[in-house]
Symmetry: C2
């Protein structure tokens, strides 16, 4: 900056004014400064700016991985929306969901140049770790039941699951089997809970859910078990990838979808419409989740008080070709 000032024959303060578009710089001077800036390839030092302003204009995102569809799409939405607001995104990956790793992430985050953090990890892991979120760091949590302690933004998991199960019951299925996600996942538990609740309210039998790990492969193995049960005519899988595995298992065992068995997924990932058959599933608006996260965080950063509470983004059932009334045998 000093070099630019020297070359342009002005003071560094004037350079600063030009760089920030402050008023009070005459046109000819501004042009000289701009010329000097481009000649020297000057670019402002953001570290010095941050030091001066006390802000980083950066949001941290702590997560376990981008592998899961939901995470990567939420992160993308956060990044896009934050960029529009002049904020950058710093990714803080946590290797495996262990206590040590979560602790490590928070330690690192403490040293990180962020004004706020979006947590896309299970908060009970946070509680288990003896690490508190550093005071002064603003937080928004995604996919969690921590609404009593933090501002939470989440898809309305329960309502989505209810729509899925009700759809199957309305088609005439006697009951609905469930392929659940891992117990550690709050979203998985919410979906399973809503599934159970709808069945109980309707007075239908509730068979124990199969348990998967979100992967298509785990869905396949769950599907093989379900395919062995001739009574099973409707399956609600906790995500689309497990639903894909279920479809494969049913196909291999000669059970037609949807003629013999109906299948519903959750997420509405881009590929779901191309499955065999195209998958009926619950659409999640990941972009909206990301957007609300950023808005909530920026609100906090800009000193708007933000207490705990849960902000639920609605879901919508997308009916495709994997669901139909049960065939004659069932009723």
């Amino acid at each position: 900056m000093a070099d630019v000032a020297r070359l342009a024959g002005v003071s560094s303060q004037t350079v600063s004014r030009v760089a920030n578009g402050s008023p009070g710089v005459i046109e000819t001077t501004r042009e000289q400064v701009l010329a000097a800036m481009s000649e020297l390839g000057y670019r402002p030092n953001s570290a010095a700016r941050s030091l001066r302003y006390g802000r980083f204009n950066t949001i941290g995102v702590i997560l376990f991985g981008l592998a899961s569809t939901g995470n990567s799409r939420t992160v993308e939405a956060i990044a896009t929306h934050a960029a529009a607001e002049g904020y950058a995104i710093t990714l803080i990956p946590v290797g495996a969901p262990t206590q040590d790793n979560v602790m490590g992430a928070f330690t690192r985050m403490g040293e990180l140049a962020v004004d706020g953090v979006v947590l896309i990890i299970e908060v009970h892991l946070l509680d288990a770790s003896a690490v508190a979120i550093p005071p002064g760091v603003h937080v928004v949590v995604v996919d969690s039941d921590a609404g009593d302690r933090y501002p939470v933004v989440d898809t309305d998991q329960a309502d989505g699951a209810r729509q899925a199960v009700r759809h199957l019951l309305e088609l005439g299925h006697r009951t609905v089997r469930h392929v659940a996600g891992p117990v550690e996942s709050f979203a998985a538990e919410r979906r399973a809970g809503a599934w159970r609740q709808v069945l109980e309210e309707a007075g239908r039998p509730v068979l124990p859910p199969e348990r998967g790990d979100w992967s298509a492969d785990s869905g396949y193995h769950a599907g093989l078990r379900l395919a062995g049960d001739p009574e099973c005519t409707a399956v609600f899988a906790a995500n689309d990838q497990m639903a894909l595995g279920v479809l494969r298992a049913l196909h291999e065992r000669g059970r037609r979808v949807p003629a013999d068995v109906s299948v519903v997924g959750f997420d509405d990932i881009a590929d779901a419409g191309s499955y065999l058959p195209p998958l009926t599933t619950v659409h999640q608006d990941f972009a909206e989740v990301g957007r609300r996260c950023v808005d909530a965080l920026l609100g906090q950063i800009h000193d708007e008080p933000a207490g705990p509470g849960t902000d639920l983004v609605p879901t919508r059932l997308v009916i495709r070709g994997s669901t139909a009334p049960p065939s004659g045998t069932g009723g």
Copy 2:
């Protein structure tokens, strides 16, 4: 920091020494300082540190979106590996692959607190934009033909495609149809080029490729066109999602896979093994790509000279259930 020093009864320099683990601090003093630090909840200001050191310990990643499987997995690998090296990742999303947007991303990057950048965007867009990478910012490019100007890390697209096409020819197919990715994509062009080359070398007819946009839906439409051609017995899709669409189209048109038509994909995404039938595909090692990006970038940052050149990560054909010799009719 001054407060900590005052509370511990030492100078700020001693606090700094404790914070950085520098030698020359006696044990009792260190403990006093640590006690004061935790009492006051002190955490170092990374902006000041960056200003002092002239480094940010941060790597920027510029990309179009996380939607594509490859991108999100590469980014995840970059983030993980960078974290292990003490670097954070800043995500710089570019809305759409337009010249303006790319320019904007680079302008923002110029102001960003990064020591280096991984570019996961087509470099010809960069060239088209009248924006140069700011001098002093180190760059590594992924998925590009810019090996003559920048260090490039990439999957060995051509070899992967060759393996796929040769596999189909070796099974006895007369020729292989191709569902290509968008023309703007270097990876798509590389795969298409290798497909054509193998066919020409083998003296087989080269029919015009179908063109998709990576999505399963575009693969579906391409597949519908191919399904209408009874001569078509083997399809090489430029990615797994388009292959999924092709599978669906063939299924709808009553062409069995692999009995009537063999299909090969590219990427080996997690779900590929659960398609109907499980997809034969080319495995890409995204984690390795990410790792090499970080290594190359850190090498540059640490003043190891790094000229242009392309670092290719090998691929591997994964044979599953979607390929077989052509049925009697073909020969």
